[in-house]
């Protein structure tokens, strides 16, 4: 059923061979075995299948996809017993492989050995297992190794065997012990699902943020279920479990029985199941040897195939390209591998050795004791180009280029043929795409050369696809290298992104390669080179054998030009590995003070932390340090430290102002800041309700002000005390509420109640300026409408404020009569205003004309009304005219 075609088959296609070959065998692709090229140069790993039964069915699409098996590596490890009796876990996306030999041994004399290898079998780590019995190994999305122990403890190691942490899957698990474990990946991270001895499932969807969920009981479950799997549906992780022929879905709340549509009735038990990489599809294997394939929501059946083998398989996995139309799963028994698809027939492979299957996004990797292979559906573009007698544009272009290399005119014929159908750009696209799916650099080159050749005949063909494919392939070829051992396909690479690939390289400490790739792909510095360098530095600082100086220098030299380096993270690493001095040295390079401070505090370098916080300008950060210091240091040291940092000191003073007044006093005392102490007492005095205490506080303020040599403040405060005493005395004597009033208001109140003598006394005692006192008295008398007293006051002596205010105040209180009394006393300059104020137009005009002042005349004019003051206006206008002349 398999037909191997020689590589020359491709070359033999020519224009003369144009009719469709009656031989309906199809050829996919031929690859060269890199590791052992001397044995067979053109050794084919291809299975070519033809399921076109009759010519009448010829137009139907083939019911089986083409598969190819590519040898990725000949394993570099040297395993005596192969993979037998090993717990094996291999990470997807070409990740590392871990082996635990003899994991069931319990005697301390023969401890099992945990080994970690790259995909090419190069050893990464190896150490004897000293903890409990391991039930399951698995890898996280960030290449950490999870070892699930019998008691539900999960130990986490990095891929170089370094212990990172451990966590428990809960009491219930540790009590009833782990029966089976599955480690799964979802958009939320890596999860762990455990079937306990009590036949209950416990699940954690993300091990970085553990939230344990215990799933409901499965009804009728007596012993371990025949098989189970974890599904991710509707943003929730669920468990699909088979008990005999019954199938249940367990979610957070319920256990729902389900039936796969169209499952053949002869089955009495489901013995194996697997879910596709994308969680979209499900395959079930029954004890009758049937493989049922359908969607994982169990709504649709895709196909069912009889494998004719009734023994339970070792492993089953989906092998399906994204977007492929056809379901295809791989089932593995001892020494046998069967690929099942849509048709009744299956493809069988013989396996020499114990192997494991590693499901991937676009295929299945098969790892055996000696080899590492990739089984996948042949990508569309490759099929188009390499199938026998293909007339696809890509195939023709490849042919054209070959002829061109041979300097044959046939090149032109092929080209013309493509161009006639205007399919040249399609041809180029096909060649580029196919190149991406090829593992062999030579083939990649051939295809890319052909694409490049085709591009010459196209104008305006966008170059991006070609360029980025060339770049991607260079990167891929580099990481696929035996020494690196990450056998990524182009599809996987695109899915995982460059960022993640860089991370993976960093985890493997392949810093130079990671940097090369970043530079080559022109990744922005802070995402690329800088990030790698940071990881390198974090690793570097943990190297105990080198001195602080050497490491600090090495780090600073390497990282000098890199932008966006976070030295604080490196310093934290150094501190964590017990190298405080190195950490401080490294922190010096950190440009972000905000990042320096917490670590410095942690390392108890508080003075440095304080100055760094101040440097940053972030006051919140300064407060943080200050508060920390306040708790750490004794008061004296704390104050001393603040004293050397004025910014911190003033911030702390602000804090104290609102929270701790007493501390504030101590601070001022320490600095002999008498002025501020005085202010503090003054402020405190206003909070005091009792007069005695208030005066006492003011007295303290006075003392401080004198010490501060602030005579004015001292005198003023003394005045204040004097006033308070006076107010209290009067309050007691006369029952007038006075305490707290200003001097001015006190006098006003006194005058308003007729206590003129007392007001006079204050006026003299406090040396109130005459002007102000006159204003004050004038206003309060007018307020009282005590016109008699006002007149007396006006005549008492010559008014220091003149008499215009008298006029105006009277008018304000609507007493024109009184106002007129003072008009005559007003100075000549203010006469006009005074007359106008009392509404005496004639008088105003008289005064203005007398003074021959133009602007005053105008003012009067503007106030005259044309109807009543006609004559007056004429006079004014005349006077104005003469005034102007002068």
């Amino acid at each position: 059923m398999t037909t191997l075609e020689d590589g020359t088959g491709v070359c033999s296609k020519g224009p003369g061979n144009r009719e469709r070959s009656s031989l309906r065998l199809q050829q996919a692709f031929i690859t060269q075995n890199e590791a052992d090229s001397s044995v067979t140069v053109w050794q084919s790993h291809l299975i070519c299948l033809n399921f076109f039964k009759t010519s009448s069915q010829a137009r139907r699409r083939p019911c089986f996809s083409l598969n190819r098996k590519i040898e990725l590596y000949e394993m570099g490890w040297n395993l005596k017993d192969g993979l037998r009796e090993c717990l094996v876990a291999a990470a997807p996306y070409g990740g590392p492989i871990s082996l635990l030999k003899g994991h069931n041994r319990r005697s301390p004399s023969a401890r099992p050995q945990l080994e970690i290898y790259s995909s090419s079998g190069l050893p990464l780590a190896s150490f004897p297992w000293k903890s409990g019995v391991v039930k399951q190994l698995g890898w996280t999305v960030s290449d950490d190794l999870l070892c699930v122990q019998e008691d539900g403890t999960v130990l986490v190691y990095d891929l170089l065997g370094g212990f990172k942490r451990h966590f428990s899957m809960g009491n219930e698990v540790s009590q009833s012990q782990v029966l089976e474990t599955k480690i799964f990946h979802s958009p939320y991270g890596t999860g762990v699902a455990i079937l306990t001895g009590a036949l209950r499932f416990t699940l954690a969807t993300n091990i970085d943020d553990i939230k344990l969920r215990r799933l409901p009981e499965v009804p009728g479950l007596q012993g371990a279920p025949s098989c189970w799997a974890v599904l991710t549906q509707d943003r929730q992780s669920k468990v699909l479990v088979a008990n005999g022929s019954h199938l249940f879905i367990l979610d957070n709340t319920a256990c729902t029985p389900v039936t796969p549509p169209g499952l053949s009735p002869q089955a009495s038990s489901i013995v194996h199941m697997c879910v596709s990489f994308s969680y979209k599809y499900l395959a079930l294997l029954t004890d009758s040897g049937h493989v049922w394939m359908g969607t994982s929501n169990l709504k649709e059946k895709l196909s069912e195939v009889d494998t004719k083998i009734k023994t339970p398989p070792k492993q089953m996995a989906w092998c399906r390209r994204p977007k492929s139309q056809q379901p295809s799963a791989v089932v593995m028994w001892d020494g046998l591998l069967i690929v099942v698809g849509e048709c009744k027939e299956t493809i069988q492979y013989h396996l020499d050795d114990d192997s494991i299957l590693v499901p991937e996004l676009d295929g299945v990797r098969i790892i055996s004791g000696t080899h590492h292979e990739l089984l996948q559906e042949v990508p569309g573009a490759c099929e188009e180009i390499f199938k026998i007698a293909s007339m696809a544009p890509g195939a023709l272009l490849l042919e054209a280029h070959k002829e061109y290399e041979k300097e044959s005119q046939k090149a032109d014929e092929y080209l013309r043929e493509i161009k006639e159908q205007s399919l040249l750009s399609e041809a180029v696209r096909q060649c580029v795409e196919a190149a991406g799916h090829e593992h062999e650099p030579e083939t990649q080159k051939t295809l890319l050369r052909a694409a490049s050749f085709g591009k010459c005949f196209l104008s305006n063909f966008p170059p991006e696809q070609f360029v980025s494919m060339c770049r991607d392939l260079r990167v891929l070829n580099a990481v696929r290298d035996y020494t690196v051992g990450i056998p990524l396909t182009h599809t996987q690479f695109k899915q995982m992104t460059v960022q993640v690939l860089i991370d993976r390289l960093v985890y493997r400490k392949l810093y130079p390669l990671a940097i090369e790739i970043c530079r080559y792909l022109k990744t922005p510095e802070y995402q690329g080179v800088s990030r790698v360098l940071k990881h390198w530095a974090c690793y570097k600082v943990q190297q105990k054998e080198e001195s602080d100086e050497v490491i600090a220098k090495a780090v600073s030299v390497k990282l000098a030009d890199a932008a966006g380096i976070f030295y604080s993270e490196i310093a934290t690493k150094a501190y964590e590995s017990g190298r405080t001095e190195l950490a401080i040295k490294l922190l010096e390079f950190e440009p972000r003070s905000g990042e320096q401070v917490p670590l410095l505090l942690k390392m108890k370098k508080s003075p440095l932390a304080l100055s760094k916080a101040i440097e940053s300008g972030d006051t919140d950060l300064v407060y943080t340090v200050v508060m920390y210091l306040k708790n750490e240091l004794n008061r004296g040291d704390f104050f001393m430290m603040l004293r050397n940092q004025p910014v911190a000191l003033s911030l702390y003073k602000q804090f104290c102002k609102h929270q701790e007044q007493d501390t504030l006093k101590d601070l001022f005392n320490q600095d002999d800041d008498h002025e501020e102490l005085g202010n503090l007492y003054v402020k405190a005095s206003y909070k005091e309700q009792r007069l005695e205490a208030r005066i006492a506080l003011l007295q303290s303020a006075v003392d401080e002000y004198y010490k501060a040599k602030n005579e004015f403040s001292a005198k003023t405060t003394e005045d204040e005390m004097r006033l308070l005493r006076f107010q209290r005395k009067l309050e007691e004597e006369k029952g007038e509420l006075l305490v707290g009033f200003s001097l001015h208001d006190t006098m006003t109140t006194l005058l308003s109640v007729g206590l003129h003598k007392h007001a006079e006394q204050l006026y003299k005692d406090f040396r109130v300026p005459d002007k102000r006192f006159w204003w004050l008295k004038l206003k309060s008398l007018a307020e009282k409408e005590d016109w008699e007293e006002l007149e007396k006051f006006g005549k008492s002596k010559k008014s220091p404020i003149g008499y215009l205010p008298f006029v105006e105040v009277c008018i304000k209180h609507h007493n024109k009569y009184e106002a007129k009394k003072y008009v005559s006393k007003v100075t000549p300059e203010q006469k006009v205003k005074a007359h106008l104020a009392v509404g005496d137009m004639e008088g105003a005009a008289e005064a203005a004309i007398e003074r021959r002042n133009e602007s005053e005349i105008s003012t009067v004019l503007s106030r005259c009304s044309a109807t009543t003051d006609h004559l007056l206006m004429e006079r004014l206008n005349r006077a104005k005219a003469t005034a102007v002349k002068k």
Binding site: A562, T619, F655, S685, Y686, K687, F741, L743, V768, R772
Partner: protein
Amino acid sequence: ICFALLCHRTKLILILECQATKTCRKYVDLATNTDNANVKVLIDPKQFSRNEANGIIIIDKLQPRDFHILFVPRRSLLCEQRLKEKGVLNSFTNIDEYILDLIPYDGDLLSMESESSFRECYLENDQTSLYHAAKGLMTLQALYGTIPQIFGKGECARHVANMMLRMKREFAGSQTQILPVFDTLLLLDRNVDLLTPLATQLTYEGLIDEIFGITNGYVKLPPEKFAQKKQGEGGKELPTEPKKLQLNSAEELYAEIRDKNFNAVGAALSKKAKIISAAFEERHNAKTVGEIKQFVSQLPHMQAARSSLANHTSIAELIKDITTSEDFFDSLTVEQEFMTGVDTDKVSTYIEDCIAQKDPLIKILRLVCMQSVCNNGLKQKVLDYYKKEILQTYGYKHILTLKNLERVGLLKPQSTMRNNYPTIRKTLKLWMEDANEQNPNDISYVYSGYAPLSVRLTQVLARPGWRSIEEVLKMLPGPHFEERQQVPTGLHKKRQPGENRTILVFFLGGVTYAEIAALRFLSNMEDSGTEYIIAATKLINGTSWIKSLMDSPEENLP
């Protein structure tokens, strides 16, 4: 904006603004009054740490509601620690920050609305707001590209520039590739120009702010003038609620008159009135159906314009009542005398009289400070006299306020140094005798003669450059500096001929509406070649500014 409460009502988020000073009790009240399971508390860390004592305990009692805490403008470790000490940190379902640095107020205006920024920087030596300013500028640069040139004058400006350069190093490597929008950043300390905010603003918007106070773009006006005049009802039911109006350039008429000198507003309003009534008259000319349709389609716009005109006419009347009063005239005269240097070294009779009549304290303080600033300090005798007068009249408690004013340099005794204000005034042409209010040709129109010092500095920087006024710059406090920031290659702006330069002017410590008007005037000048975008820690006027510096101990009484 300081305090706001977010309530989740289905998907609608309501922001209720509270008075900053009423703080905790108020938001807790709001919290109890909402029926929602989710209550978000927006907290200004500073305000919070001051008032936490009476707020948080109440919150605790309100369990089992879901409380989320959002720090504004930035997360504060100090505050979190306080919450922890009070044992309520765990009561919050969610703790997050709502970064609010620069809030756009208008097309060309950004404000941090950090009320006490000036007080903190100059009085309390707390540079938190400067840190936020620098952060805000970094955000601005992340969005609009690195600003290649930074100029600055003053201690705070230096500090902000240093932090910016530092942060730039911190973010190195993660810069976005954006073509710079701003060519220059000018950082100005408020204490470089203490005079301008003290003077009474004479632009329309400035006067609205001086008289009624604009808060967060809104003004509250006495309602009488806005009463709907209905015939027959004889004004029985006058509205008692103050009329609240939003003021920004989205309103066509306001955009036109806001920056005019108030003396030119009347003419502008009457011109507008004529245009609008002419537009309404159009309807008589509309003969065909098409013409009528066109007229009708314009109706909403015309009606909006008419109501906007009515509003502003009313406001202008309110203002005119005040500006034509003798008091206003007298105090303006004194201000202008001070600014021109008349009798600044003697006790002013006008101030004396005002104190004697116990005019509002802030008015007195504004005038005294102004005299001190214009005289580069007052003679000790004069200063002590003023101080004594103020303390005797308004109460001894104001001694702390006076000390604050002295500390920030608004009041000071004359030193042995010569009064350099006249030199500054002459060199920078701060006083223009013939200020044209109707059709201004110089920024001095905004104060009817006085050209704001800060804006003059900005103007000189644009042309011919600060080198020409080196001497004057030395007289002003604080260092002046120039920094350059490397712009990634390929992002150097190639200016087309005739394309304007854009300068971002950042006022550290606040900006007045008159200064904004002056800068807008410069932007609009035909041959200026420069466009100004304005940013500030806060929009201030003399009154709010002095108020922020006052220390009245009574407030602390329970």
